[in-house]
């Protein structure tokens, strides 16, 4: 037995759990875990007791009951006979719609503003600085409400388009109407032969992809640069347009027209959607601009000088040398901005945008009185949404990351 003794012969006693460095961190972690579990069980227990006191149960069955209310923007068939689950789904799609358009727009704005803020032109740089500071420092919900107020108060009501001498008129050859209820634009109507056009278009995209890699290889081999952009654009458009006419114009436009109380036909974009998407994009764009600026400034000045020395023009230097390197720095914070934007869509409530928060977390919650269930469900959905976005973005991040070879 004596041969088995450890180097430290001191016998173990309890105070060592605190005073001995070998055990201390373990002790702290175990204590923290117990504390966390206690708080958690207290929360669950408390909820249970209070629900019992109120005589309420915890049950998601209400999701399958008739919702009884109507929604003004529905991407899938829905009416008041649909279930609360359908209403939640409609809300989720509306949330996604804003999140999707918002993320794209915010990124475009962010990159543009971020690059321009570094411009040598004093006025441009200053203006961009004003933009960034102005937007970043006002709560986004105020921007949302302000934009919505502008949209509803400065645009004419459908009534004003009526009569002999209307005070308002449609734009673009009577095809677009801006009203205080929304913007009406023509809608694409597809007839069966439109499928042919679609197939041609898909083939064009494939051709475009092939052409780009060909041009790339050629440039690598011979140094010649093909006008990829123009040829690409032509590949994309010309065949589809030809197919469109050959197949007898199977895609037509349905124009909005004043009928009864409102414009009918065409496609209606709700003012709440525009206000929400625009405000979130402008606001988040300001943050992204700062990320972009930081990313660009982090690329050493020597890179630019080296590119200039090789004879690259400033535009190409930015596109080919600086931005690819800056991206590595920009993308991680960009992901978190996208997540912010997605979560901020829940502010749509302020302008009655029927997103997940307004359907599941608003009307459904209120009409059924299932606060806990609706809130938990909503948190779960936002969590999953955020996790998906960051997972996708992380995959992209890994692909542009500096590869160590």
């Amino acid at each position: 037995m004596a041969t088995m003794t450890e180097p430290v012969s001191e016998p173990f006693h309890f105070s060592m759990l605190i005073y001995d460095r070998r055990y201390r961190s373990m002790t702290i972690q175990v204590a923290a875990l117990i504390g966390f579990l206690l708080i958690l069980s207290w929360l669950v227990y408390n909820t249970k007791v209070n629900l019992e006191t109120l005589g309420k149960d915890f049950n998601f069955g209400f999701l399958w009951n008739r919702s009884g209310y109507d929604i003004n923007q529905t991407a899938i068939p829905y009416d008041s006979n649909s279930t609360h689950f359908d209403a939640a789904l409609v809300g989720l799609l509306n949330t996604l719609m804003v999140a999707f358009c918002g993320c794209i727009l915010a990124t475009l704005i962010g990159v543009l503003v971020g690059v321009l803020r570094l411009s040598k032109n004093w006025l441009t740089a200053r203006l961009m600085a004003v933009y960034v500071e102005g937007l970043r420092n006002v709560p986004v919900v105020l921007w949302i409400i302000a934009l919505f107020a502008i949209l509803t108060n400065t645009t004419p009501s459908p009534n004003q388009f009526r009569g002999e001498n209307p005070t308002a008129s449609m734009l673009f050859n009577d095809s677009v109407a801006f009203t205080n209820r929304g913007t009406y634009i023509p809608r694409l109507v597809f007839e069966t032969p439109a499928l042919g056009v679609l197939i041609v278009f898909i083939l064009s995209v494939a051709a475009l992809i092939w052409f780009r890699s060909y041009a790339h290889k050629r440039q690598a081999a011979t140094g010649d640069i093909l006008p990829v952009f123009w040829i690409g654009l032509a590949t994309l458009i010309v065949p589809s347009v030809l197919a469109f006419f050959v197949l007898g114009q199977p895609i037509s436009l349905d124009y909005p027209a004043l009928k009864g109380f409102n414009f009918q036909g065409g496609f209606k974009i709700e003012n709440s959607f525009v206000a929400l998407t625009l405000a979130l994009s402008l606001y988040t764009g300001a943050f992204i601009a700062e990320n972009v600026r930081a990313g660009i400034m982090a690329v050493s000045r020597g890179q630019t000088e080296a590119a200039y020395a090789l004879g690259l023009r400033p535009g190409r230097t930015m596109n080919l040398v600086i931005l690819p390197q800056a991206l590595r720095i920009i993308i991680p914070p960009l992901i978190s901005q996208w997540l912010n934007l997605t979560k901020n869509t829940s502010l749509g409530l302020a302008v009655s945008y029927m997103d997940l928060r307004s359907t599941l977390g608003g009307i459904t919650l209120n009409q059924t009185g299932r606060e806990l269930e609706c809130m938990l469900l909503m948190m779960l959905v936002y969590l999953v949404l955020s996790l998906i976005i960051s997972a996708v973005a992380n995959v992209y991040n890994r692909s542009v990351k500096l590869k160590e070879r």
């Binding site: 209070n50 109120l54 109507d70 509803t152 108060n153 109380f261 009655s352 307004s358 009307i363």
Partner: protein, 339 residues
């Protein structure tokens, strides 16, 4: 060992919480004031004046309850709630009672664990439209854009009405009445729908009330009344009988002008005596003082006085008694006997 003690303490805490919420009257007395959930501002029903003092038909109920408990109609705090927050506010104990144009419905009374203790206004849902629109009936509203307050019964009735009549509409959901009025006046919706009383009250605040018509159709029953949490029957009794005291007072001819006279000494109408506490121990039966009903009626007058002062025909809101007349006059307001 430690853990058991901890959990034991938690259980005790949980139980005390439960016990506390079971006796609202004790909570209110300990606090020294009543907390009443009201709406965010509907002229005539509940709205603060320039000095921040709340007035209105619903407010009067709250003040009457406060007076019954504390002999002080001002011992009450008003918490504005929206259509969406009101029931949560009540269920969570944030307010002691609701007097907020709330419709009594089956599911609210049962599933939402509320108790509607009385109906202080028998109402129905109507539509308001600008006169210039030239609409004379709600059935002509095919394709109209409708402003509607979310989280209300009216939102559901609206969907049903258009479905049954096979016409279409586009809802513009709004958070509260103020926003609805703003959207409606800006022309963002063609019509505004809510309880007819609410329409009249909202219209009264417009610059040109005469430019707007309330369409003849009443598409639902909206019995509006004060609500309390389900389960605390003693508290429910207090709110219910305070309200009935106001109704009975009107029926018995007790007004704020003659109440002091009548309460000085027993009159020769025993029911008045029982009501005003000059006979019997009726206050003690609900845990209040002998003169609880006297105090409640004194706070703002009897039901009829409250009605006339806040929403009656001589106010800008101009509502007729209609269904809300005393049963003797062909209405539905009917207080059970004080006996």
């Amino acid at each position: 060992m430690k853990k058991t003690v901890f959990l034991g303490a938690l259980t005790a805490a949980g139980l005390t919480a439960a016990a506390a919420s079971a006796a609202t009257l004790d909570d209110v007395k300990a606090r020294g004031k009543l907390i009443c959930g009201v709406n965010t501002g509907l002229t005539g029903f509940a709205a603060p004046d320039a000095n921040g003092v709340w007035h209105g038909f619903d407010i009067a109920i709250c003040r009457a309850v406060a007076a019954a408990i504390f002999s002080d109609p001002d011992a009450v705090e008003f918490t504005p709630t929206t259509g969406q927050t009101r029931f949560t506010a009540l269920a969570s104990g944030e307010v002691d009672m609701l007097a907020r144009n709330s419709t009594m419905t089956f599911s609210r009374d049962t599933d939402l664990k509320l108790d509607f203790v009385a109906i202080n206004y028998y109402d129905g849902q109507g539509f308001m439209a600008p006169k210039s629109l030239g609409v004379t009936s709600a059935k002509e509203l095919d394709g109209a854009t409708v402003c509607i307050q979310t989280g209300t019964t009216t939102e559901l009735n609206l969907a049903d009405f258009f479905r049954v009549n096979n016409i279409s509409y586009e809802p513009v959901p709004v958070e509260n009445d103020a926003m609805a009025a703003q959207q409606y006046l800006a022309g963002a919706c063609d019509v505004f729908t809510t309880d007819a009383s609410g329409l009249a009250a909202t219209r009264a605040t417009f610059e040109n009330p005469g430019d707007h018509v309330i369409l003849p159709e009443i598409i639902s029953k909206e019995p509006l009344g004060p609500a309390v949490r389900h389960g605390d029957n003693a508290w429910g009794d207090i709110v219910r009988w305070t309200y009935y005291a106001l109704v009975a007072a009107e029926e018995l001819g007790v007004t704020s002008a003659n109440i002091d006279e009548m309460a000085k000494a027993p009159t020769n109408n025993p029911e008045i005596n029982r009501l005003l506490g000059t006979e019997g121990e009726y206050g003690a039966m609900i845990g209040l003082s002998k003169d609880w009903a006297y105090q409640a009626i004194k706070a703002g007058g009897n039901y009829g006085e409250i009605f006339e002062k806040n929403i009656g025909e001589n106010t800008p809101i101009g509502l007729a008694r209609g269904l809300n007349a005393q049963w003797k006059d062909g209405g539905l307001q009917y207080a059970p006997p004080f006996r």
